[in-house]
Amino acid sequence: MTFSLLIAQLINGLQTGSVYALVALGYSMVYGIIKLLNFAHGDIIMVGAYMVYYAIASFALPPVVAIALAVLVSTLLGVFVEKVAYTPLRSAPRLSLLITAIGVSFLLENGAQLVFGADQKSMDPMITGSFMMGQVNVSYVAIVTIVVSVAIMILLSFVVNKTKAGKAMRAVSEDMGAAQLMGISLNRTISMTFAIGSALAGVGSVLYLCAYTQASPTMGSMLGIKAFVAAVLGGIGSIPGAMIGGFTIGVLEALVAAVGFSMWKDAAVFLVLIIVLLFKPTGFLGKKIQEKV
């Protein structure tokens, strides 16, 4: 592999990884605060993607409106799912919550199949074109995807670390009972976490459509699982960890495919999951788990 090809493949990996990272952030935040692996998270992206598709392909709305709509609907759906499916189970065993999350995931997938149809919906790419960076062909969509997701991570770090709402989230994640005694509204803080995580999923859905241009009812399941691996790899509960995990998984996939093992891509990702769980269950940035999101 020549150097320029390697650079091109790294950019491919970072682009894929950006989407994983955005989804992984949602996983991580929700896990950090209520110890729930929200398996319905990937399907929120799917709904967001359909919003973009319908807004642009069917109603010919400008892309900005479509993106806003996707983020809005994802956010509302995420909070709605939390209120309806997870809040009533807050004091139930963790396993019940997990199974409910899987149930919600199936409900969303099959519901989407019913509402949107089982066939994939395709739209024209929102961002086209590429430029040459030395010997390397770089598409604008890759640049936009990477820049947007890095910017969002910085913004999110700021929100979590510097604002009052972020402080409340960190407090709840450290000790729910004590936080409540200090006058922090549990319900509001948890909903806030879901809202932010789902909004990120909405942005992720837009970036996903930029790259793959097709929405289908089951698109969220594999994406969600890979993002989950990314979150575990980076250290679940950690924001920079989710980002690093996402980029690592994306680059790993690109390199595996680039050397001719494209059918082993998924296997490589899950191999990483197994290795992490065996040798370093806390992931790259797992130490920070004390001050979870």
């Binding site: 491919n12 894929t16 395709s122 698109m219």
Partner: protein
């Protein structure tokens, strides 16, 4: 009371074919020829079987209305095999008992192969419009000296045949020297076409500079497309289905590759899965060219009779299968042979085997040593977001 009625009904169901068969057998010798259509018109894959059946029925109705074969009417028996090999053999035995002297069917490869094994024992003329598996006409496709089921024909082309055509088109029409192949790993369809392409490399002088694959279900082809773009081929061959093809073409163009793209018949309706700009100039091989003069009457008739557009390429191919079989029957009739006899069947087979560029509605037919059609493929070109017939190749 209800039970008795039910039993009576069931009995009646069994009686009808017997009576029908009985009468046809008597008539067969004199003023009609009995043949059978066997195919799956119910069950999971009925969307393939029903259009095939419709075309066969429509063909023989029109043939009979126009005077039949040498003045004899063709009596078409219909059997549903539910795409199951055992059912298709049962149907065949019934058809034989009812005097059938030729078989059109079955529809899916599995049932058609099971059927061809028993028709071969009887040297019964058989033609399938849609079974693309090589085993339909050859006992063991991996063995070049394998026994050929000389009585079995097909009107569709084989998957490897498409691949050969794709390579030939790239070399002769585009003057390509280098090609890249992007295929679906683990898909019989995709891999068979790749085989066909590779069989033509020496003859066409093409060099494969990149061969990339994806696993079924994967959506991210960026890495593979970057490799293909780096290899800078003249033409990219994509023997994959339309949904994946749309994503692959989008990713290929995003990777900065401007090579020409050639797809297989799985590309049908790819125009809905990628942007017009990315697709511009892409061509694909098709067994059927919608809207061309040779099929326009058929398409209009189909729509008038069944109330829907021709749903897939197997429907017009089934018309051609019927046409070929009718031509074979005509040869046997002309010789004055008695339907159902060994000489009659052999005459039908010989007539089909001897066809030279016989004109069907989807192209012209000549059969090779393994009874597969050597026919022109229709080239469909995508221009301005529309899939248009370009030429026969």
């Amino acid at each position: 009371m209800k039970k008795a009625l039910l039993i009576a009904l069931i009995l009646a169901c069994f009686m009808v074919p017997v009576f029908a068969g009985g009468s046809s057998e008597g008539a067969a010798a004199s003023d009609s020829i009995t043949i059978a259509f066997i195919g799956n018109t119910t069950g999971d894959y009925a969307m393939y079987g029903v259009p095939v059946r419709n075309s066969v029925v429509m063909f023989f109705e029109q043939l009979n209305a126009a005077g039949g074969i040498n003045g004899k009417q063709v009596k078409l028996l219909e059997y549903d095999d539910k795409a199951d090999g055992t059912e298709s053999i049962n149907a065949y035995n019934l058809a034989k008992a009812n005097g059938a002297t030729a078989i059109i069917g079955s529809v899916l490869s599995g049932a058609s192969i099971a059927l061809s094994d028993v028709t071969y024992d009887d040297n019964m003329p058989q033609i399938s419009a849609s079974a693309t598996n090589p085993k339909l006409t050859v006992m063991d496709p991996d063995d070049p000296k394998s026994e050929v089921k000389t009585n079995v024909f097909r009107s569709c082309f084989l998957d490897p045949f498409q691949g050969e055509k794709m390579a030939q088109y790239a070399a002769t029409k585009y003057g390509a020297k280098t090609i890249a192949i992007f295929y679906e790993n683990g898909s019989d369809y995709s891999e068979a076409i790749v085989q066909g392409v590779e069989s033509q490399l020496a003859a066409t002088g093409l060099k494969v500079v990149a061969k990339e694959a994806f696993a079924t279900g994967d959506v991210d082809y960026k890495a593979q497309m970057t490799n293909i773009a780096a290899a800078n081929p003249d033409v990219v061959l994509m023997p994959i289905y339309y949904g994946e093809a749309g994503r692959a073409i989008t990713a290929l163009r995003a990777a900065g590759c401007k090579a020409k793209i050639i797809g297989g018949d799985g590309f049908g309706s790819v125009k809905n899965y990628a942007s017009a700009a990315d697709l511009e100039g892409t061509i694909y091989m098709s067994g059927y060219a919608p809207g061309t003069p040779s099929v326009s009457k058929y398409e209009a008739d189909y729509k008038a009779k069944f109330g829907e557009e021709v749903p897939n390429m197997f429907a017009p191919l089934a018309w051609d299968a019927s046409l070929i079989m009718a031509e074979g029957l005509k040869a046997a009739e002309t010789k004055g042979l008695k339907a159902g006899t060994a000489e009659y069947k052999q005459a039908v087979i010989d007539a089909i085997k001897g066809m030279q560029a016989f004109e069907g509605i989807t192209g012209s037919y000549t059969f090779n040593e393994t009874n597969d059609p050597i026919k022109s493929v229709a080239i469909i070109k995508i221009a301005g977001g529309a899939e248009l017939f370009d030429e026969f190749f």
